[in-house]
């Protein structure tokens, strides 16, 4: 059983942390049954390092050089989970970095405005808190080198934000999968979309790591009378609700519930409550899934509500068999997990968003299980978009998955790749102003970093330029 709080929540250690019960070893001094004859031990005799069983047989460690005593260094060991918390910590500011003045602060329409192309924009503190609550920042990103978080408005950003605006005004659903090379900024594009949504009073739901849903690290329980048998993940759903409530609280408080949810038997839900009350009402994991369903219904089916933005990172984890087992020990398909089903239905376009919205899913190039059907569907969409001949399935493969193919077949694909030299220059000037890049920023250095990073792959540029300053 895993705890409610996932590992990223460990950044701030809390006393109320629920730890998994540890199995303490039972130390039995006398074995109840043994096949080897008991060696009689004379009390007070000097303890030997080994036992002499036969003439040539010795058991135990025979010291090669008994005069040399091993040096034992007694350092204080870190507490359980402390190392992981350190590894996964997210540092968003650095007082050693120089303050960069004169950059615009992100507002509702900043990223949809073409005038801001190739500019770095700062994130306001309130937004940073919301994004932190949504776990939008990743420990692999280089936030900790700078005084305040800033991000680049790139061409793809503007086009994506324009489409988000369009979806909101026309009450349509934008369903897009972000593809592109490793380290090219797909997760950051999701973060930008989330920022845009939060600033424009959307309701933002984020799945920061899709693998957490399927790798069987969070508890699950079957939904009775479902066929085929489906499962919900109470702890994850509860944590998700808490995150939604924390990040979108102000928006959710503006909307009253459309109907009576007394059948859910939520004692914390006041009558005539708001959406926030609903999201915050589930205090116990058992009630989390029905509340998620209710909230989802309120957001998507009831008109007059804010648009919804769902972001998923690491999509291919949702497009395969999960690591869960059903009671007959068959592997459970990821789409038979109700929360995953909800997300995948939204991505596939099976869920109508009454108030408009978007489902953005980012693929990953580093932690991505193989999902040939998803790859095929995305390649076909991309080829159609480019006006090329769409690839056909490999007739010699057997691991195609029709459910996955159906889910991804109708999405849109946004390819995120290298940035232009103009954008690279804006980023490098920001680095130089922050004091992390010591070289001059001119055409030569910009091109140098740009080509070293495989034609402007942003993460690789950071590696090439800032790796030395990273802790």
């Amino acid at each position: 059983m895993a705890s409610v709080h996932c590992s990223r929540g460990l950044t701030v250690p809390r006393s109320s942390l629920r730890l998994a019960p540890r199995i303490t070893p039972i130390i039995a001094w006398t074995a109840p049954f043994s096949t080897t004859p008991a060696v009689s031990k004379v009390a007070g005799a000097p303890k030997k390092a080994f036992q002499v069983i036969g003439r040539h047989i010795r058991r135990g460690k025979v010291a090669q050089n008994s005069k040399k005593k091993p040096q034992i260094v007694r350092a204080k060991k870190p507490q359980p989970g402390q190392r992981k918390a350190f590894r996964k910590r997210i540092q968003l500011s650095n007082n050693n970095a120089a303050v960069v003045d004169g950059l615009p602060v992100l507002e509702a329409e900043t990223m949809a405005n073409k005038e801001n192309l190739c500019r770095m924009v700062g994130l306001p503190d309130k937004l940073v808190d919301q994004l932190r609550a949504l776990e939008a920042f990743k420990p692999t990103q280089f936030w900790g080198l700078f005084r305040k978080p800033h991000m680049l408005v790139r061409t793809e950003t503007v086009s994506l934000m324009e489409r988000l605006n369009e979806a909101a005004t026309q009450k349509q659903t934008l369903r897009t999968v972000l593809t592109g090379g490793k380290n090219s900024g797909k997760s950051l594009m999701l973060l930008q979309a989330m920022s845009h949504g939060l600033l424009n009073e959307w309701v933002v739901i984020n799945i920061p790591e899709a693998q957490d849903l399927v790798n069987a690290n969070t508890e699950y329980s079957p939904i009775p009378n479902s066929s085929p048998l489906q499962f919900f993940q109470p702890a994850y759903c509860l944590a998700l609700l808490q995150k939604i409530a924390k990040a979108n609280g102000e928006v959710l408080k503006q909307y009253k519930l459309s109907k009576d949810y007394s059948e859910l038997q939520l004692i914390h839900l006041p009558e005539d409550g708001t959406l926030y009350d609903l999201a915050a009402a589930a205090k116990e994991a058992e009630f989390a899934w029905p509340v998620v369903q209710a909230l989802w219904h309120e957001l998507t089916a009831v008109p007059g509500r804010p648009p919804v933005l769902v972001t998923i990172d690491g999509l291919s984890h949702l497009m395969k068999q999960s690591a869960y087992r059903d009671p007959s020990f068959h592997i459970v398909h990821a789409h038979d997990l109700t929360l995953v089903r909800l997300l995948v239905d939204a991505l596939a376009g099976n869920t109508a968003f009454a108030n408009g919205g978007a489902v953005l899913a980012g693929t990953s190039r580093s932690n991505a299980p193989r999902s040939p059907s998803m790859d095929l569907a995305l390649a076909q969409v991309a080829a159609e978009k480019a006006g090329e001949v769409a690839p056909s399935p490999d007739p010699y493969r057997r691991d195609y998955d029709a459910r996955v193919y159906e889910a991804v077949r109708n999405v849109d694909v946004l390819e995120v790749n290298g940035i232009s030299k103009l954008e690279a220059r804006a980023v490098m000037e920001y680095w130089a102003a922050s004091g992390v890049l010591r070289s001059q920023v001119n055409e030569t250095t910009v091109t140098e970093k740009w080509s070293l990073s495989g034609h402007g792959i942003l993460g690789e540029m950071e590696r090439a330029a800032l790796e030395n300053s990273r802790l």
């Binding site: 090379g181 055409e443 091109t447 140098e448 740009w450 080509s451 990073s453 495989g454 792959i457 090439a464």
Partner: protein, 283 residues
Amino acid sequence: MKSLTTSARNQQPRTETESEDASAGSLIAGSRKGPFEGVTHVRPMPVSPSYFSREPHFTDSIVRLATLLHRYQNLPVVAPDQERKPQLWKTLLEYRVYSGEPIKALQYSRALSIVKRLHQIDPKLMPAEVKDALVDFEKDIDPFSNVPKPIPVDRFGRAVGVGRRKTSTARAWVVEGTGEVQINGKPLNEAFGRIHDRESAVWALRSTDRVDKYNIWALVEGGGTTGQAEALTLAIAKGLLAHEPALKPILRQAGCITRDPRAVERKKHGHVKARKMPAWVKR
């Protein structure tokens, strides 16, 4: 005995039938030759008077050179500032091997000074016998004729350079451009995981501040990542030199000209690896 001729050798060999006929005829005609008729020397005579000296070939050469110098010392020589195809002469050791004679260093240096003086005669007026005499002293191989072929820049503006390191071979097509790099059809970050390798691949451009002036399209094969990256360094440098030959000293200083000859040392028998010996065992 090649150098010797004998007067006896000049006699006609006689066959049995001839001798019988002759003896028969002589009996009739009475015209029989004596046994040493036409023979001037009893023993074979050496061709050269220096045959019995310590180094007959060399002595002959010196005599010949001295004679030629005496004969042609008034011929005009090339001016010292005049450009001329450089000529290398055999070293003492090489000449010793060539002639098979135990020549002394002082003697050889004296001979060489005559050779060099004769070589200064204007090539247009150089007599054939002098040329002939100098051939013995010329080096067998002419290192000056081993000139690398200049790399052409083709009509599309491409220059292809080849580089090697360890077991890797790289070919790089260098074109004027904007700093795009493709290696085996992949951008730099996919071709090399390590930043260090990426930097060494384009080091020729970086060290000369030309990263934003050229595009690279390269093929690499063999070896590992380090070898491939450093093979690319050389390949790109050579392609770059085709465009800008004046960069050679800078590139040499940056280490982009010289092929690194180090390679894996072979394993030897009796050794565990190239150098490692098996542990000593008592008996």
